[in-house]
């Protein structure tokens, strides 16, 4: 592994100081290293690119790292990762994709993930996406996530995309069983001419199932973000979506809410607020001695990383 590889890996995994357990590292479309443990088995797919991950039942507090790095232009990487998490298990999965593209050709990563959570299982899924390198080629990411949660399972997703990704279209679909709980925290920064789109569809099928989506976006320069969510309540369930956006320069953010209460016991809320950086926050920080620019950066950093 060279310096660029290490830098990228660090950027997409450093926040999570969890003991390295099972892992699978993918570079430029190839699996370059992997380790299974007795609790977490990683099996390469035979018919296509990607892995199946089997977490045994009753596994407690283990970690799995599955970073992807791309250090070349002209690559269109398509990978399928499927996670099967056994009953009563709790694990943290750290994923993410770092693209370093200094060429004039596009680098594309399409990660298609599916999560199958058995009863009472708990998963924390952390995903960081970054693009670096000053080539004119695009750094493009299109993650697709399909989630199937059984009774009493819980999934907590943290997505962080902090700049440098030319274009991303992120699609998430979830189906929740009885008392299943899904939490999503998505933080996205776009700058320059970047575009980021997010689309959620969550079907709350089980009784007392719940979903909470919090999206924080910051759009600078001429960038564009679109946030689309669709909650479908098919039972006595609870859903809450909060889309909070900060606009700078000539950027644009569009929020498209859809909530469909098919069952009259569902309680679904969509809140969206998009606007300039809050004036009183700026004034407060400036009164503590920060320049306007420092104050703006502090607010944005807190909003995205806090």
């Amino acid at each position: 592994m060279d310096k660029i590889d290490k830098d990228l890996l660090e950027k997409i995994t450093d926040l999570h100081k969890i003991e390295l357990g099972a892992f699978n590292i993918r570079k430029n479309g190839q699996a370059i290293d992997k380790k299974s443990t007795k609790e977490i088995e990683i099996v390469p797919k035979k018919d296509k690119s990607g892995i199946d991950v089997f977490v045994k039942p009753n596994v407690k507090n283990k970690a799995l790292h599955i970073p992807v790095i791309i250090t070349m232009g002209g690559l269109n990487d398509l990978v399928y990762n499927d996670f099967y998490v056994g009953e009563n298990s709790s694990i943290t999965i750290v994923a993410g994709c770092g693209i370093h593209n200094s060429t004039s050709e596009n680098s594309v990563h399409n990660g298609i993930h599916s999560f199958h959570l058995e009863k009472n299982s708990q998963v924390k899924y952390i995903e960081r996406h970054i693009g670096v390198g000053n080539g004119s080629g695009g750094k493009i990411l299109n993650p697709v996530t399909k989630i199937y949660q059984k009774e009493n399972s819980s999934l907590h997703i943290e997505t962080l995309q902090i700049g440098g990704v030319t274009s991303s279209i992120r699609k998430t679909f979830a189906r929740l069983g009885e008392n299943a709980k899904l939490e999503v925290q998505e933080n996205i920064l776009t700058t320059d001419e970047e575009k980021a789109e997010t689309e959620f569809k969550v079907v709350l099928k089980g009784k007392k199932s719940s979903v909470e989506v919090v999206s924080h976006s910051v759009a600078r320069n001429n960038s564009f973000q679109k946030f689309k969510s669709n909650l479908v309540g098919e039972n006595d369930c609870f859903g809450h979506v909060e889309c909070d956006g900060i606009l700078l320069d000539n950027a644009r953010i569009v929020s498209v809410p859809m909530i469909d209460a098919k069952d009259n016991n569902s309680s679904l809320v969509h809140e969206a607020a998009i606007g300039k950086i809050a004036g009183d926050e700026l004034v407060k920080l400036m009164s503590l001695g920060l320049s306007q620019e420092e104050a703006e950066n502090t607010i944005i950093k807190g909003f995205l990383m806090g």
């Binding site: 924080h216 009183d280 004034v283 407060k284 400036m286 001695g289 306007q292 950093k301």
Partner: protein, 239 residues
């Protein structure tokens, strides 16, 4: 150390000018405690916000240690040594109490230092430093943290806008002690509270945007009672 000269502030409302502050001139001496009091809406917050640079005067000048600061930005004034604790503390999305204390004191503080800042205002650091400074904190907690931020700056001029608001009476003596212990600094406190008025070297009474009286608390006290009555009567339309 702070001098306000012929300061006026007008706003344009209902197609005409409305005078919020009218030709105010004040001189604040180093090391003294000034309490600005007066009825709701008399212009107290407006006056101190103009000093901090948060609002811009319509006319008049402000001098700080002899330097004309009338046209300086908020942060330029802050860095010259002026602090302002807001009447309504500002909340943030994503900044923690410790982040704000670090910003206020211009350094990365260790736990013990953070502890000292918060202990002064009666808060236990362990419970607060990593909490987001957002509206999940209670009104009184926010006020105390606002106070701690101002104290952490250790500036020669401190302005507190109704610091007692939301603070339980039980902690009142601690609050007045904070001001009494701020040695060698100049403190301007906007307040309605007797206990705070009592620690003032000078009380400044504002009414309808004008300074009505300035002097010791006992000198100003009779005027305060009149001012409040006057305001209430006019609000009830019996004036």
């Amino acid at each position: 150390m702070l001098k306000i000269e012929n300061l006026s502030y007008n706003i344009f409302e209902d197609e005409k000018d409305r005078e919020i502050l009218n030709d105010i001139s004040l001189n604040f001496e180093k090391g003294k405690i000034y309490v600005i009091t007066g009825p709701n809406g008399s212009g107290k917050s407006t006056l101190v916000k103009i000093v901090m640079g948060i609002k811009k005067q319509t006319s008049g000048k402000i001098f700080f240690n002899g330097k004309d600061i009338s046209n300086l930005s908020i942060n330029e004034r802050a860095n010259l040594g002026i602090s302002y604790a807001f009447q309504q503390p500002v909340t943030f999305k994503g900044l923690k109490v410790r982040d704000l204390l670090d910003i206020a004191s211009h350094k990365k503080n260790d736990f013990n230092t953070l502890c000292d800042y918060l202990a002064q205002v009666g808060l236990c650091a362990k419970e607060y430093i990593n909490r987001p400074l957002d509206d999940k904190l209670s009104g009184g907690e926010l006020k105390r943290i606002e106070l701690a931020l101002t104290l952490a700056r250790k500036t020669p001029l401190n302005i507190f806008d109704e610091p007692e608001a939301g603070i339980d009476l039980w902690s009142f003596d601690n609050l007045t002690n904070i001001f009494k212990n701020l040695k060698n600094t100049t403190n301007i406190i906007v307040s309605h509270q007797t206990k705070i008025l009592e620690i003032a070297d000078y009380v400044i009474l504002l009414k309808n945007g004008k300074v009505v009286k300035i002097g010791s608390y006992s000198e100003v006290k009779p005027f305060i009672e009149n001012a409040t009555c006057g305001k209430l009567r006019s609000q009830n339309g019996q004036d």
